[in-house]
Subunit: 467 residues, 2 copies
């Protein structure tokens, strides 16, 4: 082939791709690869997710369930969806727990070989405060709940300090997180079982830095509800060094408390399917976030991804065969009340989710999707996804098995496919549940690529279904 | 299998993996997967690349070839390599061009419908200044070199403004960079050919921001050497809007000049192979950087990657069969003199590089490697790499064809494999050739994963060779 002819061919392809044709003409004639390329182009040039995320995180900020900020986020989301000319936008009411942090936490080394100093601390979500006067106790360091059991009576009257780090050598940061998370979730009640008066936990991050990371804990009702704070990894190292040098007593004061449940809502917007309206493809994230940061990666990113999927569909003039439903869930962080309400109502109505896709792993460069499903159908449906790999690999996407998202996990019995969006995870725990999870931590282009990636599989599932 | 037995099995594997055995015992008995896991663990916990990069960028800073900073970088690198107990560390002298930026550039809109204002500008590397008095001319906007040819005489006496953006819709940012780069590289002489008095170019980035991006240009000796500056993308948009509203004249003053060549050097350190010392596996980056930033991603990251490969090998007590040679090249940015000297000497000595691996795409999360080679051997050698995919895919790595690195490109006739390390590229052009390419733009964990990824394929190539 001579060069001139080659150039002609390349230009033909180029102009075909750039033609403004409407979606109906295009889907009949053009290839999926072309349409996915167009999705990426639109997301990168006309995506709204970054502007939305800037607005949500800057003007509303942290939005823990039950707070006025969470209520504002519900209203804001509904207003944004209302601008998209969807078939329906509505709130799905639910009752949520209302945990209140109270006063700024004090975790102060009262006596040690180096004297007194304050540690950077944040009360664990759902934890009960120390009471107004605080508590003072000798610190005992452990690396696991098992070690507390082994120490038995030696725990009595002490402040237990859980200091097992996330395994920094693990390439998979979420696995490392899972491997250390029991200290935060179950550590306080395990310590209380043996008579501890309070708990400190090392923050869950692979970095050594000065930011305490909050997150949920859960009390075992059989034991006293003792106070619990996370301290920064640098301060955890410091406390551990002091303990090696001698006895350390800590004064700790938190006034957090669980108040009575509050009414709140999931926010839902949908485009009804033209051929199979009863087959639902859900895209979602969770609207609530922790209070100490602004919930940019967790999970403002997931919310604006889901919203942008609808926005971009409209902009591409793509008319789905199946119903595309965007669900912004409330209260994932400390109760999952929104998710549970959604499952209950969906199952009661006999709905069928062909697929449910949650984005709740941040707004970083997309790496792919992880799936889960009912054993009766899972293997076949996952295999069907993988046949689209040649279309998605050029965008750095792959499929793995083993999980999806907390808010959609209860839809498994409908026997559709549950899918978790998985961006690069290496920076996620730098920001997770901290005061620095704000818009500065989000790269516009990386965020937009997430919306494009999710829309690409929504498009394929909508077009071909999942048998 | 009952749960207790399963737990026993898991623990057995765990303890085997965590045993401190020396490399000779291990390579004979354990699997490659285990060793690669150990490489990642060591890199994440005992890597030196981040500390080195902090030192290089903070204490030396920008290091354009021929400057005192570049000389300091050569000395610093040699000192660092000297601490690693390598078999040999030496400098390979070469002569490099010495371009001097001169005074802070002035690019000022002198007259427009909105009056006068300064634009954020940086002289293009290798460009000649306007002279002390500067030049003033009417601006004419074009989107391509072809458009300059078509305009012909209308260019005469004008300042040509090349304003074709990088294609933001392209997922592959390096392809988008390549698609717009001719304006910077060849734009000035093309404009001079038709009588232009100076050139402005839109900065090469997908973002709209306020940072001008410098970079090399090259004069065609047949035409006058006119001055050339890049202006920020925001200012490019502004200038374009003003041009739509009416006539714009710009005053431009740069005092950059090409001085006489200076002596400099590549820095080389190596561990000699125990079985095949004449088969060389090169790992490298380029030590020089642009002057306006601190060359953190470009290419301090590549230098510390290569250095850390040797450091980690020593720390793992791995004794290579083949010679592992770390080469920090001088003058990639505006002349490639170090690379050319290296090729000349290597070819003259009849050396054979089994593989040459360059890291010159930043310090982001690794995505894989891109390869190139002599047509006689390339397909087979690339295919051999891909057989290791099952070992590398768990770390997010893949292989693609089509390129390697500028500094190693001249080794092709030795018929080894040329390999470019390819991290995620979505943020690269946010920082590339700007004042913000400094340590703050680099994530420690992402950088360390780069060293681990490169060492992993060095290990496989060293162990098995490439036939």
């Amino acid at each position: 082939m001579n060069l001139r002819f080659f150039t002609f061919l390349v230009l033909s392809v180029f102009f075909t791709f750039n033609q403004e044709v409407n979606a109906q003409e295009r889907t009949a004639e053009d290839t999926d690869a072309f349409f996915i390329k167009e999705i990426y182009g639109k997301a990168l040039n006309e995506g709204k997710c970054y502007d939305w995320l800037t607005d949500l995180t800057t003007n509303i900020g942290g939005r823990l369930a039950g707070t006025p900020q969470a209520a504002a986020a519900v209203e804001w989301t509904k207003q944004m969806l209302d601008t998209l000319a969807l078939d329906t936008v509505y709130l799905q009411p639910c009752m949520v727990p209302h945990w209140n942090r109270g006063d700024k936490e004090i975790v102060r080394i009262a006596t040690s070989v180096s004297g007194s100093m304050d540690l950077r601390a944040t009360a664990l979500g759902n934890s009960q405060g120390t009471g107004d006067l605080g508590v003072t106790g000798e610190v005992i360091e452990v690396k696991s709940l098992k070690e507390v059991e082994a120490l038995g009576d030696k725990i009595k009257g002490k402040i237990v300090f859980y200091n097992r780090p996330m395994d920094n050598s693990n390439f998979r940061t979420f696995t490392a997180y899972g491997g250390a998370g029991d200290q935060r979730w179950g550590g306080p009640s395990k310590a209380a079982e043996y008579g501890a008066i309070a708990v400190l936990t090392r923050s869950l991050t692979t970095r050594l830095d000065d930011f305490p990371h909050t997150g949920s804990m859960s009390y075992n009702e059989k034991f006293p509800k003792i106070a619990a704070c996370a301290i920064s990894t640098n301060d955890s190292e410091k406390l551990s060094r002091l303990l090696k040098a001698g006895k350390v007593t800590v004064y700790m004061r938190t006034t957090s408390e669980m108040l009575s449940d509050k009414p709140s809502a999931n926010v839902i917007g949908e485009i009804r399917g033209s051929e199979f309206p009863d087959e639902i493809i859900l895209v979602g994230g969770h609207l609530d976030s922790w209070d100490i940061g602004r919930g940019a990666h967790d999970d403002g990113a997931g919310c604006v991804h889901a919203m942008d999927v609808l926005q971009l569909m409209k902009r591409l003039n793509y008319k789905p065969k199946r119903t595309i439903r965007c669900v912004l869930f409330m209260n994932e962080e400390n109760g999952l009340a929104g998710g549970k309400e959604y499952w209950k109502q969906s199952n009661a109505k006999g709905e069928f989710h062909t697929a449910a896709i949650e984005s709740d792993s941040g707004g970083f460069t997309p790496r792919g999707f992880q799936t889960d499903g009912h054993p009766d159908v899972y293997v076949d449906k996952h295999r069907q996804l993988t046949q689209w790999l040649p279309l998605l690999e050029p965008y750095g996407l792959g499929f793995t098995t083993g999980g999806s998202g907390a808010d959609i996990s209860g839809l498994k019995d409908q026997k559709g496919l549950l899918i978790g969006f998985r961006p690069d995870s290496q920076r996620y725990f730098d920001y997770h549940h901290t005061e620095i999870d704000n818009i500065d931590a989000v790269n516009k282009r990386e965020l937009e690529l997430g919306a494009a990636s999710i829309l690409s599989i929504v498009y394929l599932i909508d077009k071909y279904g999942l048998k």
